[in-house]
Symmetry: C2
Subunit: 356 residues, 2 copies
């Protein structure tokens, strides 16, 4: 029996459409001849759409997206400083809105330094960890405000909101990941300064840790965590952290493992009430858009995460292996977006389909 997955595709702006095209080719290669098929609906969303229509994300868009099983997103955001975009915050109004409305409380960001990939670190060691970043709370909630704007007496506040409900569920997800990985979980926060939020996170981790005696737990302040990411990244297995700290740590993690051109991510609603969304960590990079030189590897890696999330383990593994094999032989050769995408798709197709 064929399983049909309704996939919402949001190519977005800049290099988004270029890398998504290759990601879809990889998806096609990974599922051809299998029992799963993807029924795609393209959504034209992002800065370009805003400039055309004045809309960032309408209720109708959101409803339509919700009726899908999963989402593949390229990148959204216009050219920085474009005066026509002043006042429109594509990131908040589209990307973060999707994460919040679709209750993507797990932002899953694996970091692997693949053989053959150059790291800016002299001795990176064996880098293989995953950041479980909270996705629906913290300083990202948008609960800020300002008074007397533009005067010398202006005050601008930002409120980080953290709940037991929100922290516990992401902490549970992280422990479950640690159990099936290397049984090591690191909480990253800034408990000595952000004492209320920090205490909540600490207590939730301690409470869930009691149910996971097999998982060893440690804690790092976010500033210390950045040090270890460059001096001893191999120490990490699962990092669980707040929305903002996760944002910062995962860009750094991407950098030390070969660049965010390789970093895939999943915005996951583990309950399955809403479609999860898979996207490369990189942005729309308007400076290189249209040149055909963007690296599609992160977008293709996001397809692997999508397949794994859907339980299509065989297909996911073939995509992952194809990426690893391509990276191992990539060397310094400068290849185009299409060349990399085609090489990976060919490897996926060549791998034999395991009969389930």
């Amino acid at each position: 029996m064929v399983r049909t997955v309704r996939l919402a595709v949001i190519p977005g702006d800049g290099i988004g459409p270029e890398v998504v095209a290759q990601a879809l080719a990889a998806l096609e290669a990974a599922t051809a001849g299998t029992e799963v098929e993807f029924e795609q609906t393209p959504f034209s969303l992002g800065a370009a759409r805003y400039l055309e229509t004045g809309d960032v994300l309408t209720d109708a868009d959101l409803d339509a997206i919700k009726s899908h099983d999963a989402i593949l997103l390229g990148a959204v955001g216009g050219t920085p400083g474009d005066p026509r975009l002043t006042g429109a915050n594509i990131e908040r109004g589209l990307l973060l809105k999707l994460r919040f409305e679709l209750d993507h409380y797990v932002n899953l960001r694996p970091t692997v330094l693949y053989p053959g990939v150059a790291s800016p670190l002299a001795n990176p060691g064996d880098v293989d960890f995953v950041v479980v970043r909270e996705g629906t709370e913290g300083p990202y909630v948008g609960n800020g405000g300002a008074i007397r704007v533009g005067t010398p007496a202006e005050v601008a506040n930002e409120v980080s909101v953290n709940t037991a409900y929100g922290v516990e569920r992401v902490v549970r997800y992280a422990f479950a990941q640690a159990r099936v990985r290397r049984q090591r979980l690191t909480l990253v926060h800034k408990t000595n300064v952000l004492v209320f939020a920090g205490s909540l996170w600490k207590r939730q981790v301690d409470a869930v840790a009691a149910e996971y005696p097999d998982v060893s737990v440690d804690y790092l302040h976010v500033d210390a965590a950045t040090i270890f990411l460059v001096t001893d990244p191999a120490r990490f297995d699962v990092i669980v952290t707040d929305n903002l700290f996760g944002d910062i740590l995962t860009d750094l993690a991407g950098a030390i493992s070969g660049g965010i051109g390789l970093a895939a991510s999943g915005n996951i609603n583990p309950d399955g009430r809403f479609p999860s969304m898979f996207e490369p960590v990189h942005g729309s990079a308007p400076d290189i858009a249209g040149k055909g030189i963007a690296d599609p590897t992160a977008a293709i890696g996001s397809v692997a995460l999508l397949l794994r999330h859907l339980g299509e383990t065989d297909a996911a593994t073939r995509v992952e292996r194809a990426i690893a094999d391509d990276l191992a032989e990539r060397g310094d050769a400068r290849r185009s977006t299409a060349e990399i995408g085609e090489a990976i798709a060919a490897r996926i197709a060549a791998a034999s389909v395991t009969v389930p």
Copy 2:
């Protein structure tokens, strides 16, 4: 005529007293035979004092410290997890309290990769920048709170408070630094998410930039800034940023430039209404305390910043040169705290005193 500087000395906990002893020896060597002398008052503050007396920082302590011209601090904080310290937050109650009460609105953190020093980066390039971290606002204000603590309905908030008054003054300080350095200033924030605080920072930088046509200005999101700190740290000259982002970036900056054992800092009240405070970026490191192996270089570097702040330029330069020369010849040899301190002090003493 002899100038007498009243110096409050807070050795603190852990390795604090060990590194401060060497810092004071360097200060002595740098000022012997000059027209400046330091009248020292030791203050017993930190976790040890709290365990003895139950006090973290009394009003009387604070008043006494205020009557000094400057402060030298080692490190404060007890052993993590010490049950006797539960409920006492030495960082908030002592270190941050001093920064806030003494209006240390500039937290100045220079980062230099000295010749001879190993970086974890394979190709660090010419690393020489300074982070001007705001010191009295942002998420550090302590304006948080929680309800229903310990229940599944707990909500814990943290409020970041930012004012035109507070941001403008630190931005002005940063531009003045950029003018006498390499005329390049980078604002780091997260304007696409923290829109109210971000907009305030952006507008203050734009406004002051108009008075500094000689300084080129750019902007990076904090996540992107961490990438550049490992892929191209030489691009930075002056970074101006918020209290929390500055905390994170300066630990990372310390790591790429040889470790926070080398990173000095100044908590500065540029108005001169309150004494400024100089301290190594590292903490009290209870795990290596008492072993005589802590690196005193960051503490000695903090003495150089102290001397420069006081206008004692010759003495400051001699301390800086002695540090650089020692680092250049240090190699891999493991030396004790005292050996490093004595070697640097000897170099300072050997350098001829320029007659002013």
